[in-house]
Amino acid sequence: MIAKKVLLNELGKEQKKKGFVSKKKLKEIAKNVCLPESEVFSAATFYSFLSLEKRAKHIIQVCNCPSSHLHGSDRIMKYLEKKLKVKAGHATKNKLFFLSETSCVGLCDKAPAIIIDGKPYVKVNEKKIDKILRKLK
């Protein structure tokens, strides 16, 4: 069956388990799926869900696409930047949070949407964010 040896699934599994794909693991996966390491590296660095180093304990992604934009995603991002004292695309000093923008996540009917550690939060506002973050500390 084809799906058994697909690089993307292997990388995805490791990312989910560890929060990143180490160089060592990348080599191992390349061997398992019978692809050259260079090709696996080139593919792995393409996808926004995959990272080759651990970014932080929690990953916060704010949708910045049209429907979320119309419902104030810019304001949400600014609020998060201020609250976490970090710029989008970076991790907090204590490596607790990594804040980033993301393309539409298919929750446009409940915009603005954010994703934290793969879990969707919809119709977010400042108050909701405070509540969510308190639980994550």
Partner: protein
């Protein structure tokens, strides 16, 4: 409209009806139904099946569930509410083109739908066993370009997901060089309905979002007045414009306009995957364009220069204008750049990326001019 009632549930009866027919009559029936691909390009489904079936080699079926167009969430609804319809459609496709292997490429953001898909696959187990068909799931990892029917092939093969030159078309030379039938979720979910005579080619699912109280997926009939549809979704404020996903363009809101592909095309836009984002008077078209442009800069795969560099430049200019730092010269350059990127880019992503700016400049130019020195 209640979302549950949107799709007629086949409950295996469509599958049974289709499997009782031989492959060539299945293809004939799909051709006759008038079903066209719902992913955006609108290619006649039956014809695609026929082309693929005729190609030599081991046939494959690939369900494109990498719904990534901003403003689109109908495939998510179909999988959530009617995954069995989809799996039935996949099995019928396998039967029609004599494929033993099928894959579902699910966008990474929808990973929580995997159990739903697996449950539906389990329900069809007897059919899969009898026909020796296996269905695998591949989870995307966050890349819009993988929705392209050739980039998705490279993605599955473990290569960098850049688009391939067409022809050869995937139906003839697809995954690992094998004839591969690629259809999206909505298209395949319609297949069992055809065999139950419940399919109506004039209706399709539409994702409504934006400045609406009651955003969601609606079933629309071609030709219905857009105002009636928007009213149902309860607009917030007074609607000013409609935006068809990120790549379909922006047109002025005219409640009396019948919703047809032609009407939208006449205004320079494109209905595509049928996503309608409603924008009210409180929002600036310039800022909307800036937000859409950010998306394209992020999602350009970087393979060709016009799209990789051109989209960055378009964003720079849009930012300047949006911050009231642009000039009339910028505006002219913006127009030229958009024209260039749409003509010189390699794949559909780059070709359609500037459409939102082109249509915005056609219909809402004064909003840009007002912000220019």
């Amino acid at each position: 409209m209640k979302e549950e009632s949107l799709l007629f549930k086949s409950n295996l009866s469509g599958l049974k009806a289709a499997l009782s027919k031989n492959p060539s009559s299945v293809i004939k029936i799909v051709k006759k139904s008038g079903l066209r691909g719902r992913g955006g390009a609108g290619f006649p489904t039956g014809l695609k099946w026929e082309l693929c079936a005729k190609a030599k080699g081991e046939h494959l079926v690939l369900c494109n569930a990498d719904e990534g167009e901003p403003g689109t969430f109908k495939d998510k609804l179909i999988i959530t509410k009617a995954a069995l319809n989809l799996i039935e459609g996949i099995i019928i496709a396998c039967h029609a083109i004599k494929a033993k292997n099928a894959l579902i490429y699910l966008r990474g953001e929808y990973s929580y739908l995997i159990p739903t898909l697996k449950k539906a696959i389990r329900k069809t187990e007897p059919f899969l066993k009898k026909k020796k068909i296996s269905i695998g799931i591949i989870l995307g990892q966050g890349a819009y370009i993988c929705g392209d029917e050739t980039a998705i092939l490279n993605s599955i093969e473990g290569k960098r997901p850049e688009p391939r030159k067409k022809p050869p078309y995937p139906a003839i030379h697809g995954l690992y060089g094998k004839p591969t039938l690629i259809n999206n979720v909505e298209t395949l979910a319609m297949i069992p309905l055809i065999f139950l005579k419940k399919f109506d080619a004039t209706k399709r699912l539409c994702s409504f979002s934006g400045d609406l109280k009651n955003a969601g997926v609606f079933e629309i009939r071609e030709g219905k007045q857009i105002g009636k549809l928007v009213e149902k979704a309860e607009p917030i404020g007074i609607p000013k414009a409609l935006c068809f996903g990120a790549s379909g363009g922006i047109i002025p809101y005219d409640p009396c306009m019948p919703l047809t592909e032609k009407n939208i095309r006449d205004r320079g836009a494109w209905l595509g995957a049928c996503s309608i984002i409603v924008i009210n008077h409180a929002h600036s078209i310039v800022e909307l364009c800036e937000s859409i442009q950010k998306f394209f800069v992020h999602e350009s795969c970087g393979y060709c220069a016009p799209c990789r560099e051109g989209n960055e430049r378009i964003l720079e200019i849009l930012k300047r204008i949006s911050h009231s730092e642009g000039t009339m010269h910028d505006l002219k350059e913006l127009e030229e750049l958009c024209d260039f990127v749409s003509k010189a880019s390699f794949c559909a992503l780059g070709k359609s990326a500037p459409l939102h700016v082109i249509t915005a400049l056609r219909h809402f130019k004064e909003e840009f001019v007002r912000r220019c020195r």
